[in-house]
Symmetry: C2
Subunit: 223 residues, 2 copies
């Protein structure tokens, strides 16, 4: 698919005149990443804006000892590295979680179009606002919630967006899930075993099947 | 001071034509809060943008059990609740940390001016970008750093902005400082005592005096 066809369907560019979308598409580069491949790290200088064409990307921070905290998960159509407009370094790193195609273009091009088109700036502001809210939810979760609460909240939130309301299929390992929840893999296993023993859920390989939604909802409130 | 005089000196409105600043000032309301007073909570519906005129404001999340995590600290000239442009509820609560004067106006007025003035949207985007970066730093700190590392990073960062490079005077209690670091007051006391015993710093009431900057820098790297 050519870059213009991709960009015109991206919500961020809704309402943007065709010539501006074409200008952006003209500077866009498409790249392919396989599962587990790094897209960029927080130590590389790069002023670019990215979009997921297909696949999935995680935005994360890593400690010098190799521990990781996943901050965002992005799927098709979603932009990332919006802070490139103001900064030379991304505040976090990005990795493909499965076979992924991304589209990128230089931040200066975006800045150029954005200064002429308030609708794009406004859309960017809304996306940034949503990201800020999500990161505040994560801060709350990390500092004020225990692992079972975090897992319950994550499952309830994830299942709301699925067709099959009982089965959560992350498409990645429990080790990746632990990085989202800010838990060690061992703690996550222990919590999953406990909830399985209580009949709240069962684990089917990578998938988690919820049997008792009321108990899960209760857990999200820390009780 | 009248609202126009306040707004024209706020960096967010830099480059904005006088008539727009006047329009915003015309809708602005000034309010006074004493130390410890709640400005708004994350459960109240309110679509307004706020500025600190003088004093200091903390943005925080609280758990049902009354535990708190401070997310941002804002001083004179700084805007808060920028997500009001897209949401009816603030993602976090706000409290005055000392005697504080704030200026607020309805989010619709801001939206109205912002849609006409790309420079304002662009400034808002830069502020939002900075906030997002700060919240990612906090996420990293909460999930990947121990309390001594968090304290060291906080002190190094705070002292960089001060006239007296050895003395950190927060202007609030160690209990408030613990909420910023995501620590219990007991853990913070223990860490401060340990660092004092090692000659890295000393505690003078609410103030913290740094004796060994190299050791503090070392600590920020977790070593």
């Amino acid at each position: 698919m050519d870059s213009y066809d991709i960009l015109k369907h991206i919500p961020l560019f809704e309402g943007l005149p065709r010539n501006h979308v074409e200008a952006l598409a003209g500077c866009a580069v498409q790249k392919h990443y396989s599962s587990g491949q790094t897209i960029f790290t927080d130590t590389q200088e790069h002023r670019a804006l990215y979009f997921v064409v297909w696949g999935r990307v995680k935005i994360y921070k890593a400690s010098p000892e190799g521990r990781e905290q996943t901050i965002f998960l992005f799927g098709p159509g979603e932009p990332f590295c919006l802070t490139a407009l103001s900064d030379e370094f991304s505040p976090a790193s990005a990795m493909a979680l499965e076979d992924t195609r991304i589209l990128m273009f230089p931040a200066e091009i975006l800045e150029d179009v954005a200064r002429k088109e308030p609708s794009l700036l406004f859309n960017m502001l809304l996306v940034m606002s949503r990201r800020l809210k999500e990161s505040l939810v994560l801060i709350e979760s990390l500092s004020l919630k225990e692992i079972p609460e975090r897992l319950a909240a994550f499952l309830v939130h994830s299942l709301k967006q699925k067709k099959e309301p009982d089965l959560y299929d992350p498409g990645f390992s429990h080790r990746e899930l632990a990085k989202i929840l800010g838990a060690t893999p061992e703690t996550l296993s222990r919590v999953l075993r406990k909830l399985a023993a209580e009949g709240v859920l069962s684990v089917e390989g990578r998938k988690i099947r919820v049997h008792d939604h009321a108990a899960l909802e209760e857990l999200t409130r820390g009780s």
